[in-house]
Symmetry: C2
Subunit: 224 residues, 2 copies
Amino acid sequence: MNTVCLPLGMARDEIVKMDELIKERIRVPKGSALYQQGDASEAIYGLRSGSLKTQIQDRRGQAQITGFLLPGEILGLDGLMDNTQVSHAIALEDSEVCVIRLDEMDQIASRLPILQTQLRRLMSKEINRSHTLLLALGGLRSEQRVAAFLLNLSERFQALGYSPSAFILRMSREEIGNFLGLTLETVSRLLSRFTRDGILDVRHREVHILDRHALQALAETDGG
Amino acid sequence: MNTVCLPLGMARDEIVKMDELIKERIRVPKGSALYQQGDASEAIYGLRSGSLKTQIQDRRGQAQITGFLLPGEILGLDGLMDNTQVSHAIALEDSEVCVIRLDEMDQIASRLPILQTQLRRLMSKEINRSHTLLLALGGLRSEQRVAAFLLNLSERFQALGYSPSAFILRMSREEIGNFLGLTLETVSRLLSRFTRDGILDVRHREVHILDRHALQALAETDGG
DNA sequence: CGATCAATTGAGCCGTCTCAATTTGGGTGG
DNA sequence: CCACCCAAATTGAGACGGCTCAATTGATCG
């Protein structure tokens, strides 16, 4: 359970202390928000089960999905600047998170210094994830983006102990498109094409990766 | 000086303690790297003078500039995941940074808890900056991106006490294009067009914003 | 079983990229 | 100080990728 909430390599006795931190849990029904832009934020959240999307929105309503979250991943790291949420976190299916209050965390961290390091790592990881995504949006063709997206999901499912070659997309084509800077039609067309080429088997939201090698090649091809 | 290195609102007596942290400085000549992908990282850096770019690179050489840094801003927050740099930081002009070692920081933070909070805020801010950039690359037209880029620079120069309406671009058209997910030609064409329309006066790398209102309108127009 | 929303597929258009030719500016050595 | 050279920037013409608009099919859920 705790490994789900702050999974980076901690010793067993350290995990015991962690229990003090993680008392509270929140259920988030499909379609509802764990938090919204403008909410006060004194905590971060570890996703225990289900999946969520996070998105930001500018003043005129233009939205950008910044991430899809799977169990074991952390939400709310972008809200620690001034204790106000700057993004929305919305459940893609019925989900459950555990709550890690920042003030409690600081108290415990005085006895368990590694905790600060862990948080720092998690935040740094999120920065890297964003930067990688920037590279995708700035430099990759639509084909490569969708291929890379599927491979990324695949790896994360595998890390959770699920099959890397067969999984369910919990998000719509439109959400994938928004995330990747494409339209839903482009995403749909590419999934169809990959299927036609024998690389995938896509039925609705169920994806089977038939030729991982070809998919990796697509993700890395120079587009020429 | 210290306000430059960790500028978020700290009381005067707190700043005194900060002096212990920031002994070392590094000069970075134009074109050279403060650090490179793969280097060990035990510190973060506060930019004192000059300007730098940070960029990541995937295995086949595809590069993405993830930020342009101005004095007072922090570098290296993306390298705290496993003490290895994942990006390059390259000086756009002769620059100077101060060094903040993470282990020293943790020691001092035990007497000065606000320090952890500050770092957390800085990292959260960087996450938000990346997410905002994602929105730009994913959802804005070239026109809007370039307009938003100029306005962002303008605000940051103003925050430093410089003119918000007249400044020098320290980066090439190619670097701007890479950062914004555009080609250098597109950037050049747009700067020319904005000039033709009386919104800007662009001479080489010297930019004058003549009609801020129009520029803001461009950055926010729905593209229709 | 009908209503509604998600996904697929097609046709045509537009914006941005690509390729290429000039122009301009900065730095260097004669 | 001027001439030259190289890199950066501008500008143009044409191609192409992804978007827009639109119609159809397929799921999901009362």
